[in-house]
Symmetry: C2
Subunit: 585 residues, 2 copies
């Protein structure tokens, strides 16, 4: 037996008991006649003590020489501390060591195992097993487990069944790029790893399972942007005989349950907003509504003077930045530089200081009177002391720029409080979006999403105007879930594939099984999928998902710890009927 207690378990009530503990040497303090050791395991830290009077010289010497992270086992008596430490649960006691047994030695770690470490990202990834020993990472993984259990038990209690869908499925060119898996037994053929279990969960509905969920790994072979992983986890859900309203209520219930269980927050009912409204008010389909600074269209108020920049613009938009009239010229110039960065892409920014004394001063005073500016202030809701920022240009691009500026200003002004949680349903998404390059329409959600029945006739005349029964759940400016009511009959699904540019043969060869299934009594159904990695990160008050994944990959899709991917044997390639293509210069 390696231990009688964990390192976080011993209290004053255990005084005088003999205990055995095992763990890692976290820190040693040596006063010559006396040595203290902080012994650490997953559950906490217990202070060990050895001294000249009560321990043998050999034992004291052995303790003195223990390197950090050495794995030891000790047996001793629990004693009350003279100097108590109220900040740790075991802080009233220490263990007077009688026996010490080194279980495993440890080399000096490449970075310190402390809450604030000196290790850089790549080093921490390479030695992830050491990084996990650090409290913040360990607590994130424990938190993820807790959230996953809460999700599973809540959904199971609501009658959902977790069903495992296959990982070795079929590649479909639609959507993102698949990872594929060559088949040895079927020469020249490949499986694909699922981007989501979409078609399988729909087939489970056709199969009558009524309520399905699964915490499931999904795979996308995309060029990795920051904070994207080639493998990620979804909370994947589907229900039958439901309307959009049923789904929103069910998963509002789940999300509210998590916020209550984790943060003690009552969050129901969640506000709802149409996609069009979100775009108009926030320039974004996943608005952070923890703060204001809503977008105001200024075309009518700004296009009647001689300022050509505005007059020629499709869209002129302003926001009132609270208490920012006091920004220095230098701060404002920096902001203008920020919006002009290629990542944002604005041509410039007009600003108006609404001074505390009620006067208004702008960067375009040549063109606009104070009366004009007052009207802008009224529309944007600016108060004395605020700064009005104005951008202009093509609608979609300018909205995106203003949305980015709004988020940036909120960060600078500390308006994005990680302790505040503001969920929001965004509904009535467009069914299709046009790819400007190819001129083709793509499914905004996916090709299985049902158009709103009232809009179906617009498919031929005005495809962009067709709305879908599709919805996103947004939390603090992040899309944490998205879903839709599905098509459940063959003719509509065939029509949709046609509008998406599939030939009948392509549609049949890729999704024939699903359309066949729709002919054997498919119930009305719909669902939603949450990104678990991001959900956990946001609930944990963090911004990046990587620290909530045990073994993440870097931005080149590599696991730098195990050094994967890697070359494989020629024999393996032969068995798979493959050869590498010679690299071209």
């Amino acid at each position: 037996m390696y231990r009688t207690h964990h390192c976080g378990a011993i209290r004053l009530a255990n005084t005088a008991e003999q205990v055995t503990l095992s763990g890692w040497v976290s820190r040693t303090r040596d006063k010559g006649f006396m040595v203290w050791i902080d012994l650490r395991d997953r559950y906490g830290i217990t202070q060990l003590v050895l001294d000249q009077e009560r321990c043998s010289a050999d034992l004291l010497e052995a303790a003195r020489n223990l390197g950090r992270e050495t794995v030891i086992q000790v047996t001793g008596r629990v004693i009350e501390r003279d100097a108590k430490n109220a900040s740790m649960p075991t802080g009233e006691v220490e263990v007077l060591v009688a026996e010490l047994n080194v279980l495993n030695a440890a080399k000096l770690p490449p970075f310190t195992i402390e809450d604030q470490t000196d290790g850089g990202d790549e080093l921490r990834m390479k030695y992830r097993y050491l990084d996990i020993r650090r409290n913040p990472v360990k607590q994130n993984l424990i938190f993820r487990h807790k959230v996953s259990m809460l999700v599973r038990n809540y959904l199971s209690d609501q009658g959902f069944l977790e069903v495992e869908t296959p990982y070795l499925i079929k590649s479909t060119p639609e959507g993102a790029r698949d990872f594929v898996v060559p088949s040895r037994m079927n020469a020249g053929q490949f499986y694909a790893l699922p981007q989501s279990p979409q078609t399988f969960k729909q087939l489970l509905m056709v199969g009558g399972l009524d309520k399905y969920f699964q915490l499931v790994k999904c795979f996308r072979d995309e060029d990795l942007r920051a904070d994207r992983q080639p493998e990620f986890t979804q909370i994947d859900c589907e229900m039958s005989f439901i309307t959009q309203e049923d789904i929103l209520n069910t998963f509002e219930g789940l999300t509210a349950h998590l916020l209550k269980a984790i943060h003690g927050i009552d969050s129901k009912p969640f506000p709802r907003m149409s996609y069009d409204e979100a775009m108009e008010r926030y320039g974004n389909d996943k608005p952070d509504i923890r703060f204001g600074m809503e977008l105001s269209r200024l075309n009518a108020l700004a296009q009647h003077r001689d300022f050509e920049v505005f007059n020629s613009a499709e869209y002129v938009v302003g926001i009132a930045v609270p208490k920012a009239a006091s920004f220095t010229r230098k701060e404002i110039d920096a902001l203008i530089d920020w919006v002009k960065r290629p990542q944002i892409g604005a041509k410039g920014m007009v600003y108006v200081r609404y001074n505390d004394d009620g006067s208004l001063k702008s960067s375009v005073d040549k063109f606009y009177s104070e009366e004009d500016l007052k009207a802008w202030a009224e529309v944007t809701g600016a108060q004395p002391g605020d700064l009005i920022c104005v951008l202009s240009g093509e609608l979609a691009a300018t909205r995106a720029q203003m949305s980015a500026l709004r988020m940036e200003l909120a960060s600078r002004l500390n308006l994005r409080d990680p302790k505040v949680f503001a969920p929001l349903w965004v509904v009535d998404f467009p069914l299709l979006e046009k790819d400007e390059e190819s001129g083709r329409y793509h499914a905004m959600h996916h090709p299985f999403t049902a158009p709103k029945p009232a809009d179906i006739e617009l498919l031929d005349t005005d495809p962009s105007a067709v709305r879908a029964n599709a919805y996103d759940l947004v939390l603090n400016g992040n899309e944490i879930g998205g879903g839709s009511i599905r098509i459940h009959d063959r003719p509509t699904q065939e029509l949709m594939f046609k509008y998406l540019g599939f030939s009948p043969e392509e549609a049949r060869s890729q999704f024939g099984f699903l359309m066949d299934a729709f002919e054997y009594g498919a119930p009305p159904h719909g669902g939603i999928a949450f990104g678990l990695d991001r959900l956990v990160a946001i609930l944990g008050g963090a911004e990046t998902i990587r620290d909530f994944i045990a073994f993440p990959k870097n931005n080149s899709g590599r696991d730098v710890m195990i050094d994967a991917p890697a070359t494989i044997d020629q024999a393996q390639l032969d068995e798979l009927h493959l050869q590498l293509k010679p690299l071209q210069s």
Copy 2:
């Protein structure tokens, strides 16, 4: 709103309520003036009724024409049935239909959606979404969900953390064949899908997580035997600062919890048996101990006469088959043919009838006296009325043959009662097994298993004799779990790789990250993995795993429903830097 109640919900107490139900038309009975419909959903069946007096002619006509599996919605009043059906929970009531709405039509299914279907295996797989509507399959999936939730909640309550390990890892030639995934971003390199998260869970222990579990998909590209799947699910577990005893107790706890929760059975404590004892008594390392027929070595009693077959054999073994002396000559001949089949491979079988009158009659009376046979009966424990079956030959092969014969006879004699659950720990497995062809030693469990400290010195002199701290959990003759105490220091792990024929370079390139990790303070650790598919099947009283998997693959590794694997585009191959090898004639 599609429904006010499920189809399994309505009771006598609901009489006179107006309800709305949705579901599938399971069956229609038409008496001319009256039509009954069994409306089915996941939760049950509710009888609908329509008649001339209380329904319009149009409604009655519409109901009459509903095909099987049509999806409908009905609204009506709950009424008490005249002829009650006590065998169904809703059997006291029916719904008098006032409105009927066809939600989706259905073609005639290719097989009947009944508990006993007329569909063959391939047809059921192709239309798996219809197969899932059948009660037995649906109940299996619900049962699997239940077992998974029980496992997760039990382990979580015991302090285990579920941690997700990566699916895109590195290929290692050791063990079974990997499925590989070509990397687009790293030309010429491949990920592999995990055969198990073995090294990652060990790294989590090095990371101090102390208790880990995961229900996780694993992948093996093996030639599929019956009832094997290329992707399967493990309950994967690992613990730190534990001995073998701790692991056996913990997972005996889990298994006993399942048996109690599911079948109300108290099963603790589980018997334990060494590998050597299991082989000696049952000829098998996963003995079914629900019945006797233990193997008895007859060498001493059978090799002193002139019967050359026995005299020249390494091993002569007998079992007493209860109450089988009455087998006819024809039945015994059939049994002899059975053991001589190539799959079993015995040369023949000697038998002794121990008649009810106490006389003994054998197929080798020419060589053995009744006194001799009496001695055989004594050793095998045969009673009057039993049949003694004797096989002989090389030890390992003959054991395997006798073990197969024992199981076959138990099946024929109905001794394998699916309602009886007999768990058993088999411990002290050999560390290595010799591959007779190559003469090389392989790890019996895997290369990370620790030898018993007392046996390490035998590694050089008698490798086969080295035992490991490795254990299997056996349930009703099936291995449902297996694990070991792991090596946790670099020198022992290097030694093990050396004995397994790895060069130092191979060991380093494949498992360097693990051996590095062992140098930074690795705790003593060990674990176990259960095969969830099989565990669920056995707990469900079934023999094959396929019916407990939502979308299984066939014996060629194909999903016949979605038709995967399949060819992929040339563009995909190009992006992956691959080309297909021309097929050779």
